[in-house]
């Protein structure tokens, strides 16, 4: 009986080896492309988030991974910070663009969100995200329901206060983290 089990298992073994080889080949050819796709996701947004930028490259400062926005002559013009945090329904992933001296927010892009369609997912609307442009980072940004009166106020999405508050919170903490990381690193701008 044992003999027949091994005898019968040869097909499974041969198939496993054949598939293993095929999958290894697939991995070798496709993995570089997939990694590039993932990187391009964020880098594509850099020109839209930092004025004057044409491209960017990933950089690690301490424990923080950010993107350095550069112009055509490869001079640094700003930073793009990937950040995430808990939204209303699930985690929100976004990109915050700031200027070179981390004094001003230059743009916001939502990478991934699962907020309520029609309500919370209006945080992806360009009109709402444009509110963040030009905001000074000296003080934390706040969400208001009515039209904003002070420079640090952002008007929340109607009917989606929690989503708006979450996004603003993520932006605040991302900027703070970058400032702290740059201050820690010797010789970096602060």
């Amino acid at each position: 009986m044992k003999n027949s089990y091994i005898g019968q298992a040869w097909l499974v073994i041969v198939l496993s080896l054949a598939f293993g080889a095929a999958l290894a080949a697939v991995q070798a050819t496709l993995d570089p492309r997939i990694a590039q796709n993932k990187l391009r996701d964020a880098l594509d947004q850099v020109p839209r988030l930092v004025p004057g930028a044409t491209g960017g490259r990933a950089e690690t400062i301490g424990e923080l991974t950010v993107y350095r926005a550069t112009d055509e002559q490869d001079r640094p013009v700003g930073w793009v910070i990937p950040a995430r945090g808990q939204g209303f329904a699930d985690v929100i992933e976004l990109l915050v663009g700031v200027d070179e001296s981390v004094q001003q927010v230059t743009g916001l892009y939502i990478l991934k969100q699962l907020e309520t369609p029609g309500l919370g997912d209006n945080i992806t609307a360009e009109k709402w995200r444009n509110q963040f442009r030009g905001r000074k980072t000296g003080e934390d940004l706040l969400v208001t329901k009515a039209a904003p009166t002070r420079d640090r106020e952002i008007q929340g999405v109607t009917g989606a206060t929690i989503s708006s508050v979450s996004v603003v919170g993520i932006v605040n903490s991302a900027v703070t983290k970058l400032r702290a990381a740059l201050a820690d690193r010797a010789g970096g701008p602060s």
Binding site: F88, V91, I162
Partner: protein, 247 residues
């Protein structure tokens, strides 16, 4: 303490809010097929929970130590073989194959257990017991765990979190299938239009149940806040997150 809070939040989220059947659409085939009677539905739910937890345990161990990018055993072995101390090993392409075999093995295990200790249940299940292998819930849980292990993971899960996730995912499936069985037993006395009998009316009711469960969105985030507030400042009054919701 924070760890326990995160486990409790994850349990509530997975079982109720991101319910496997009503939110993620997995586990629909047995949900529609086995939900006619309450006792078989409960047995199926329990079996799925059991299988999911065992499969998740094995998957986590295999993924963490062998298959994830940068896994210790695989990387160590690869470095030995190639004599390159900086070589990286990434066996994640074999993940799907390994998971489905782990699941099949776990189902075999549970099948033997049920046949030995609960023979009438074994007879009642019939062909549906080996079909648990094709239950999307289990593979979905394994895939979710895979996302949270390894060097590319943004929010790494240790074994405790993975097992909590798996157990309560199965538990959520149990809740869903038991509710549906209860409703369908009542439906036997109702006058369902002929075209809708069977899967049609089951799906429509599942839709209404899904709508009901959607009302629980946001409970997890606020539950976490509530529990953290209570654990760090036991004297502080609990906030009223419900008032914040202007939806």
């Amino acid at each position: 303490m924070n760890y326990v809070v995160s486990l409790v939040t994850m349990a509530v989220t997975t079982a109720l809010i991101n319910n496997m059947v009503f939110h993620f659409f997995v586990g629909n085939c047995p949900f529609i097929g086995v939900s006619r009677r309450l006792d078989t539905a409960f047995g199926m739910g329990a079996a799925v929970t059991f299988v999911t937890t065992i499969a998740a345990l094995l998957s986590w161990l295999l993924t963490y130590f062998v298959m994830a990018p940068g896994a210790p055993l695989a990387t160590g072995l690869w470095r030995l073989l190639t004599r390159d101390p900086a070589a990286a090993a990434d066996l994640s392409i074999l993940s799907y194959i390994v998971y489905i075999f782990v699941i099949a093995w776990a189902v075999q295990l549970v099948e033997m257990y049920i046949r030995k200790f609960f023979p009438p249940l074994y007879k009642a299940f019939g062909v549906y017991l080996p079909l648990i292998t094709t239950n999307c819930v289990i593979l979905f849980v394994c895939l979710e765990i895979m996302k949270h292990i390894g060097t590319g993971a943004t929010d790494p899960w240790d074994l405790g979190k993975a097992l909590t996730y798996a157990f309560f995912a199965g538990f959520g499936f149990l809740i869903a299938i038991v509710i549906m069985a209860g409703i369908r037993e009542e439906l036997d006395h109702c006058d369902v239009p002929k075209p809708l009998q069977g899967p049609g009316i089951t799906l429509i009711i599942a839709g209404i149940l899904s709508l009901a469960f959607m009302g629980l969105t946001g409970v997890d985030g606020n539950l976490a806040k509530l529990l953290s507030a209570k654990s760090s400042h036991p004297a502080a009054p609990a906030s009223a997150p419900a008032a914040e919701r202007s939806k």
